[in-house]
């Protein structure tokens, strides 16, 4: 009887893991199956390098360079904001905070991760954007800058909690050795602890990058939606996920526009896939 229980438990969990793999492959297959036909209408080079995105026009233009530029600029901005904040809070929590402030800070930062992205979007649209107009007198409050701030705040908990994990696994003996050699606390953290945890910190940043570039709701609501190569920080852009979300409802299934949106998903998938591959590689190397 016990053995029966054991095998049935094993097969149930095995099936569960099998299902996730099946879903993953079904999704990958479908985006490639629906996305590749766009290259019958436009060459891959032109698809990637033309900034002109007029999918409903006659004749249509399927160039996604402006969408790619929008995605990368907004993500870069998010990382510029979230790396210092995330890493700073991780160092404070792991190395400097007393037990009480640690117990308050850690869950509060993790709480940031539990806020639905539509709420972040709403906050950006209704609060941050009017504020930017008042402070900087910019023509529009929905732009690269505001989207970067909101995305940056969203990414902070990922970088913070993963870096904090990495910092706290640095053996105590390293810190003690550094202090014993006469280094003060600041020098110990910067010269010894952070370098020892650098692969964990780096992979947290890559994961944060993946989160920011794939985030849809926030960029749909806050980035402004203009399919252009921006000339400044305060110009609206249309990142790739926003284009997919805003336009998929209109397309006729099987039309070039439909395949083009899937083509964008291939690009997006490839980028996040590579970023996850890099993290896996780093984590793996660290374990060796």
């Amino acid at each position: 009887m016990n053995k029966f229980k054991e095998t049935s438990f094993k097969s149930v969990t095995y099936l569960a893991s099998l299902f996730t793999i099946v879903f993953l492959f079904a999704i990958i297959l479908s985006i490639f199956y629906e996305g590749i036909p766009i290259f019958k209408h436009v060459s891959l080079i032109k698809f990637l390098t033309s900034p002109s995105w007029h999918p409903t026009h006659f004749p249509p233009d399927f160039g996604i360079l402006s969408l790619i530029a929008g995605s990368f600029l907004v993500t870069l901005g998010a990382l510029i904001i979230s790396i210092p904040l995330g890493l700073g809070s991780a160092i404070y929590i792991s190395e400097l905070a007393g037990p009480t402030s640690k117990e308050i800070l850690k869950p509060v930062i993790e709480l940031l991760a539990s806020i639905p992205s539509v709420v972040y979007g709403l906050f950006g649209m209704a609060f941050l954007s009017p504020l930017l107009i008042k402070i900087f007198h910019v023509p529009t409050g929905l732009n690269i800058f505001s989207a970067s701030i909101i995305l940056g705040i969203m990414v902070v908990p990922i970088i913070s909690s993963m870096s904090e994990d990495a910092l706290s696994t640095v053996p105590k003996s390293l810190r003690e050795a550094s202090l014993a050699l006469g280094a003060n606390k600041w020098e110990t953290i910067i010269r010894v602890v952070v370098p020892a945890a650098k692969s964990g910190i780096f992979s947290s940043i890559i994961l944060g990058f993946g989160r920011a570039i794939g985030e849809t709701m926030v960029v749909l609501m806050v980035a402004g939606g203009a399919a252009q190569i921006p000339k400044g920080l305060f110009q609206p852009v249309r990142p790739m996920p926003a284009a997919i979300a805003a336009e998929m409802g209109e397309t006729v299934i099987g039309s070039p526009h439909f395949h083009a949106l899937y083509g964008i998903s291939i690009i997006l998938f490839t980028v996040t896939f590579i970023s996850i591959l890099i993290t896996e590689f780093i984590v793996h190397r660290r374990k060796k």
């Binding site: 649209m125 954007s129 023509p139 939606g225 805003a246």
Partner: protein
Amino acid sequence: MKIFRSVSVLILLLFSATCTRVENKLKIAGSTTVLPIVQAAAEVYMEQHPQVSISVRGGGSSIGIKSIIGRIVDLGSASRQINEREMKLIAAQEKNLQAFPIARDALTIIVHPDNPVLNLTTGQLRLIYTGELHNWQQLGGPNLTIIPISRDVSSGSFEVFNHFILDSLSVASGAMVLASNNAVATTVSYTPGAIGYVGYGYAHEQVKIITLDGIRPQAESIISGDYPLSRQLYIYTPDKPEQLASDFIAFLLSEEGQNIVTQQGFIKLHQTEPANE
């Protein structure tokens, strides 16, 4: 055995419960312009008929029409008529649709309340959206960059605007693209240089309506069609709608339903024209 019996009873109960519920359910999706009317009407209707449940969703006119062609919903709302592409789709699937105009509306051009510009011509509006006019100074306003706000391609408002104003020229790539009427109205209300187009019912007091070719959108000019961007709002049904769907449309067209149209800031139909198509 006992377990088996109780389970089968439970399944039967669930089954009968879903059966009775299905008849009184109405699903509506489509235009964000029509949304407030349908939403308010659904609330009143459900209050009067407690056994009925109506779910209302936005998404855009294209989504409304596509959903009704695919029979995913019972009623599809749209702020425009069916276009050629959709006609082909309907013909291919051998499905027919019926259109019921339920209210009148005008695409209303709105700017920030502090903007002194009072009137634009359709030509000027085109030049703004195609990116040839950049500054309000060129239109007799202050030295302020023009921020044109457009809608995404699944919006019926965009198609109407595209057809009557842009004449199928491209919107400038620098124009902002937002996903709903409300997003446009909110953004215009706090962006000094912005200009946008929304359904008449969304032009609230925090934005300024400007006249188009000298004509102000209001009941008379919308009904007479003098205002260049006048249009009707539609509910689409299958050619043979369910009883409940017909009842709900009858309610929308009744005096009570038409009063809701007015309450939401849109214009009554007056039921002079027969249904198109």
